[in-house]
């Protein structure tokens, strides 16, 4: 676990829009180790997908990316240029997207799309590529793999396509997979299967996995470590247990209050809610992004940028002006109320 497969330090993504500069991702830092699953969770528009695209260097052309550090397997991938980055993409770093229905090219067979990355990155023949494709398809639980290879994406169901996508990502034997909402478009039953598969494969191939999702349930079940994002910033980071058992940042706390948990939330009772809306990220931003929705906001929250601070346990940190003790008390109070 020691060796870090990805290290991100102070990643920022800005996008020019007609009304100014959109600060989509600001100062995001995290790292992923081999065999570790990091979940980045947040609501829509919080910048989690852009973070993943920034790591893959797949941002839209007009977006600008800066970082203090962006290392993959100890190698700087921040300034290596498109050609060398392309050699990494799909080779040692793979990505799975949200929409299995549209992420495969409808014009080519499964086999063609599976094999092309391998042929591109590794010196292998077509026969070998085919063998690996069959092997991986079976690995991701697709039966009659050699028949499936001849099929086109539209002939497969959503769950199968997402399995194909996973197999495709694994073709070159990557050591890091970034999965951006891989199960959002799928039924709950299929979702569980896909997540299970991902987790198993990750352990088996000892890969790092960054799973991006808005679903706290998924995060809790899959993650080793969790990073919560709000309005372009990380607001809390820690192990799954730390974040879910002792949420410290007020936003994380509010978020967890919002979802009904069978057995814990009283049936039919009022759910917690976060009033207000996400702030605009265009233009100069100061202070806590959550301030105007936060029940504990004070003047100092908007005055200055808020730093990350450590919570009680090691490896658990959060962004807030409030001390860990106050936060813990707040969380208690809400449970009682």
């Amino acid at each position: 676990m020691a060796d870090r497969i990805l290290e991100v330090n102070n990643l920022t993504v800005d996008i020019p829009v007609p009304s100014g500069m959109l600060h989509a991702v600001q100062g995001v830092s995290f790292s992923v180790g081999r065999g570790e699953t990091l979940c980045i969770v947040g609501e829509s528009g919080c910048g989690k997908s852009l973070t993943s695209l920034a790591i893959m260097d797949l941002l839209p052309a007009n977006a600008s990316r800066t970082a203090d550090k962006l290392e993959h397997d100890g190698v700087d991938i921040l300034n290596i240029g498109e050609n060398r980055m392309a050699n990494i993409r799909g080779n040692t770093m793979g990505m799975i997207f949200q929409e299995p229905m549209t992420s495969l090219n409808p014009a080519y067979t499964i086999s063609n799309q599976l094999e092309e990355a391998l042929l591109r990155h590794k010196k292998v023949g077509r026969g070998e590529a085919r063998e690996r494709a069959v092997f991986l398809l079976e690995k991701v639980g697709i039966t009659a793999a050699s028949n499936r290879l001849r099929q086109y994406p539209h002939q497969l169901s959503g769950g199968l396509r997402q399995r194909v996508m996973i197999a495709m990502t694994l073709m070159c034997g990557p050591d890091l997979i970034i999965a951006d909402e891989p199960t959002t478009a799928l039924d709950v039953t299929i979702q569980a299967q896909i997540l299970l598969l991902l987790a198993e494969l990750q352990k088996e191939f000892h890969m790092g996995l960054i799973l991006i999702t808005h679903d706290l349930g998924v995060v809790a079940r899959v993650a080793d470590r969790v990073a919560v994002m709000y309005a372009g910033q990380l607001v809390e980071q820690g192990t799954a247990t730390q974040v879910f058992e002792n949420p410290t940042n007020p936003y994380t706390q509010g978020l967890l209050d919002c979802i009904p948990i069978p057995g814990k939330t009283a049936r039919g009772a009022h759910l917690g809610s976060i009033p207000g809306i996400v702030p605009s990220l265009i233009g100069d931003l100061n202070g806590c992004r959550f301030a105007d929705r936060c029940p504990y906001a004070k003047d100092e929250c908007v005055a200055k940028d808020i730093e990350f601070r450590a919570a009680f346990e090691a490896g658990h940190s959060y962004r807030c002006v409030l001390s860990p003790e106050v936060c813990a008390k707040n969380a208690q109070r809400k449970l009682i109320a």
Partner: protein, 305 residues
């Protein structure tokens, strides 16, 4: 695929039959077809004779079925003016027009698809703006005007190209350009729009995430999908061009079907007029059928239904 082809073919046949009905009814626009057919020197006796021979005294549906059954056997009747079998005349001139149409379409495609692709991969740049300007300007130029300008510059002033006739391949350049440029904007825009849409699609992102070379992403993954609607459009445009060849062939004195059509219309040679409408329509139908087949080949979602 086979089933799709059969189904599509069935529709094509139905359309062809409807078109034949329409072009058959053209003859009734003129009032008395027998009189029109009999021509200038006919006596009322002749007209009666023709009415009987052609069956114009029969109910219209009987006439139509009769006419259609002859047409299916390749007998479009005889042109009074040309003194020849209509079918013979048409198939004598069809190749010239087809060749002209193919040249024009070739020109349009060679110009528009690269431009459209360029514009799409560099949106909002000079290239894009140039291409768009070309499109807007191109669509506003009346083709006969453009043809005359071409003759003036390329034919007379610079003497680069022969002006009339079909003697050599050079003869086809100006008419092909004059005929083809008008469809260029449409194809270019569709290519651009298609490319833009495809380039922003999830599977292109997937392809890029696989680390494929930009050229592979562009040509293998993007163009193939973006080109699918262009194929249909090109077929439709080819049909339009056959119609547009009337003006162009007249200007460049090309002895093709368009020119024949124009002459035919002027002299009210009804059987030939009917036949040309029908032949052009059928050609269009065949063409769109082939385009659909090509699309099915390009797009497995249609092929493997």
């Amino acid at each position: 695929m086979f089933i799709y082809a059969c189904k599509r073919f069935g529709v094509a046949v139905l359309v062809a039959i409807t078109v034949s009905l329409l072009s058959f009814s053209l003859i009734y626009l003129s009032g008395d077809p027998a009189m029109a057919l009999a021509g200038e020197s006919a006596t009322s006796e002749d007209i009666e004779n023709i009415r009987r021979v052609y069956g114009y005294d029969q109910p219209i549906m009987v006439q139509y079925v009769d006419w259609l059954s002859r047409v299916v056997q390749g007998d479009f009747g005889r042109s009074h003016y040309l003194k020849r079998e209509v079918a013979e005349v048409i198939f004598e001139r069809l190749p010239t027009t087809m060749l002209l149409g193919a040249c024009a379409l070739g020109f349009a495609i060679l110009l528009s698809i690269p431009l459209g692709v360029l514009a799409a991969i560099r949106p909002n740049t000079i290239i894009d703006r140039l291409a768009l300007t070309l499109a807007v300007v191109g669509q506003a130029l009346p083709s006969f005007w453009f043809a005359l300008i071409l003759i003036f510059w390329l034919g007379i002033t610079w003497r680069l190209l022969p002006i009339t006739g079909t003697a050599s391949w050079q003869n086809f350049i100006m008419p092909a350009v004059a005929l083809g440029y008008y469809v260029t904007p449409a194809i270019m825009r569709l290519t651009r729009a298609g490319m833009l849409e495809v380039l922003s699609s999830d599977y292109i992102r997937t392809a890029r995430a696989k680390g494929l070379k930009p050229a592979t992403v562009l040509f293998k993954h993007a163009l193939r999908n973006a080109i699918i609607p262009v194929v249909s459009l090109a077929a439709v445009q080819f049909g339009f061009m056959l119609g547009g060849s009337i003006v162009i062939e007249t200007i460049f004195a090309i002895n093709g079907l368009g020119f024949l059509a124009w002459e035919t219309i002027q002299r009210g040679d009804l059987p030939t007029m009917q036949a040309i409408v029908l032949v052009l329509a059928c050609f269009y139908i065949v063409l769109t059928f082939l385009a659909d087949m090509l699309n099915a080949f390009l797009d497995p979602r249609i092929r493997v239904a």
